[in-house]
């Protein structure tokens, strides 16, 4: 097995292991109601964001290497727009609905 192949295999397996852990934590926490609801939301959110980053890193091999960064830029730009659009929507709509009753 050549080194590149070995490294890639390692990457997939590490990604898988990390993902399993990051999935189990919130599932377990919710199942056992280990924390207060507010804490649970935070745990879920952190685990989810981390897992998404992990999958990008280990399954899709996106990293900060010095290669061309088009894909990374594209992803970061998308994330920025997602924050603007999803965050903006939630901001606007909650503000509106709190003023409509």
């Amino acid at each position: 097995m050549n080194a590149e192949k070995y490294n890639e295999l390692k990457s997939y397996i590490m990604g898988f292991v990390f993902s399993v852990i990051l999935t189990s934590i919130p599932f377990y926490a919710v199942y056992t109601k280990a924390f207060s609801p507010a804490t649970l939301y935070i745990v879920i959110a952190i685990a989810a964001v981390t897992q998404i980053a992990v999958q990008f890193r280990f399954f899709l091999h996106i990293n900060f290497s010095k290669q061309k960064r088009e894909d990374l830029h594209l992803i970061l730009f998308t994330v920025l727009l997602l924050i603007i659009m999803v965050g903006g929507t939630l901001w606007i709509m909650t503000d509106l609905s709190s003023r409509m009753h």
Binding site: M85, T89, I92, M93, L96, R99
Partner: protein, 695 residues
Amino acid sequence: MSTWSLTGRLSPDVVTLFDVFKDPSINNAVVSGAASTEVIGILVAVALLTRYRLWKPLWEKWLTSVDHKKIGIMYIVLGLVMMSRGVIEGAVMRAHQTTSLGGNGILSAHHFAELFSTHGTIMIFFVAMPFIIGLINYLVPLQIGARDMAFPLMNQISLGLTTAGAALVMISLVIGEFETGGWTAYPSFTAKAFSPGVGPDYWIWAIAISGVGTLLSGINFAVTIYKLRAPGMRLLYMPLFTWTTLCTSILIIFSMPALTVAVLMLALDRYLDFHFFTNDLGGNMMNYANLFWMFGHPEVYVLILPAYGVFSETSATFAGKRLYGYKSLVVATMCIAVLSFTVWLHHFFTMGQSATVNAAFGVATMLIAIPTGVKVYNWLATLFRGRIRLTVPIIYLTSFFILFVIGGLSGIVLANPTIDYQVHNSLFLVAHFHNVLLPGLLFGMLSGIHYWFPKAFGFRLDEKLGKITALLWAIGFSVTFLPLYGLGLMGMPRRSPSYYNAEFEPWMILTGFGALCLVSAMLMLFATFWVSIKNRHTLAVPHGDPWNGRTLEWWTPSPPDEWNFAHPPQISGIDAFAYAKESGAPYNVPSQYHEIVLPAPSSLGFIFMCLFTLLGFALTWWIYWLALLCGLAIPVVLIWHSFRAEKCQVISAATVRQKDSAWRNQTQSAPGIKRDLESTASNKGKASTEGAVSV
């Protein structure tokens, strides 16, 4: 959804052709007149194609072509066809309102509502979009020295989908009716409970289908620009039109999903009894407004940015000068693109949100004035200390300067929530957006068409008629739309089938005349084409560079060969062609030629156009067996296609050599033309080095 009959909701009386005989009235005369004009138009086209035996060339040279240049031209033709309907509809609405003081008027209120809805939908999605996508298609590969788009076949499919959308809107003229809630189609007015007819369904499928086509175009353009630039062409060496295309593509890629989501949710509400936007069971129509404008606002910048690109090119060329502040313009374009994702709420300032939200989005909106102002100032600085030839594009540019800034001013006015509480939904708003759409977008596109026409067809357009056309547009615009600012401030709401304030009437009559002027401007545009085609031999510019151009596209014969460039040009700065002309012999014949591989023609785009038109029609009319059939056929065709061997055309090195060297030799020996003879018959497309432009 309940009926599963063979013909769904279709029945003989949905055909509008004979309405006037069933119930004679001016309104029905207009309805049937429009429908029969369309049917007769199609019949005449079919007859002519048959008479002159053009079916085969049409199919082989155009409909199955995957050449970006042909696709670009077809987009623009689609835009022109749709524009003739859209402009006439505008004029008919104007005619109606000159007669509707006190309640009546030549049309029924319902018909008037259909008119503003089709007019808005057509103008934005099937005129403006085809124009910009067509121009981009034609130009961008040429400007960056590429052989074609990154995905030529997908490009053809995009055209097919856009055409399918346009076809659905056209079909609605003859069969059934169109939606009546405006181009924005807000629920719950467009929900099943309030608009049970087929109108909103036509709108939904036309928009959804063409939207997919547009998204694919956006992806295609972005990849082309990122990956297929000529060797040495850094991003910061790209012509400005290409830059604006890149930004427009980014806007398309990230804003189209919002439209698709909004429209499909509306469809789910209407077809499957979902509750996204309904009045009851927790639906919320405010979500629709939010989603729609998350697309809608970026969309208007999708439209204007390429126009800015055109103005950047024409101002430099016709001032005989380098573009002032290239980097500034690039930065400003990027700023506009990013900012345009942060302002959508300004379309519903009056929905009831808190002052903080309104103020934040109001300020964000105003910020766009800064980069836009920089652009306008930079174009003026480009003209400054130039040698300006008063050609048709410069007339459009001048009108743009003077009129667009008024539209920008009214945009700033509207960006103030405080004032928007008053003028939202009024004719002031209608004046604003026509003020940016005509002098901005439309003038940009028309001047682009005039400027690049000789590149595409090998002959120039008649200057004199072109000037008359441009002036008619400018004057017609001013008379039609500037009074609407006043009417809006006096309180007249938009989309009013009738009005009751006698003070409005004189202004309405005035704008009615303006609309006539605009119709004649459009006729004059077609006359320009017609006369120029007749005089094409005297206007011919086979050498390819009639305006002493600066960017790569002028470094090809007119029209360019199918493969664009025999060799990808080596680039070392901006304005590559101007540089080449300056530094010696741009037309030297290279010593070596290679064979060129191009993708083969394909009928896939055409098949998709037919399938999607049918699909949209079937869904609109609840002919579910047909919809199912088409819905299955589409993936089947895709899969079938994916199994076929990829076909290519190989053009031998000898053929390339023969065509390319012939052009180079002829051009080299041709006399260069000075700029004051630019619009005379002696201009065959080679510029003299007089007024040479140092780079």
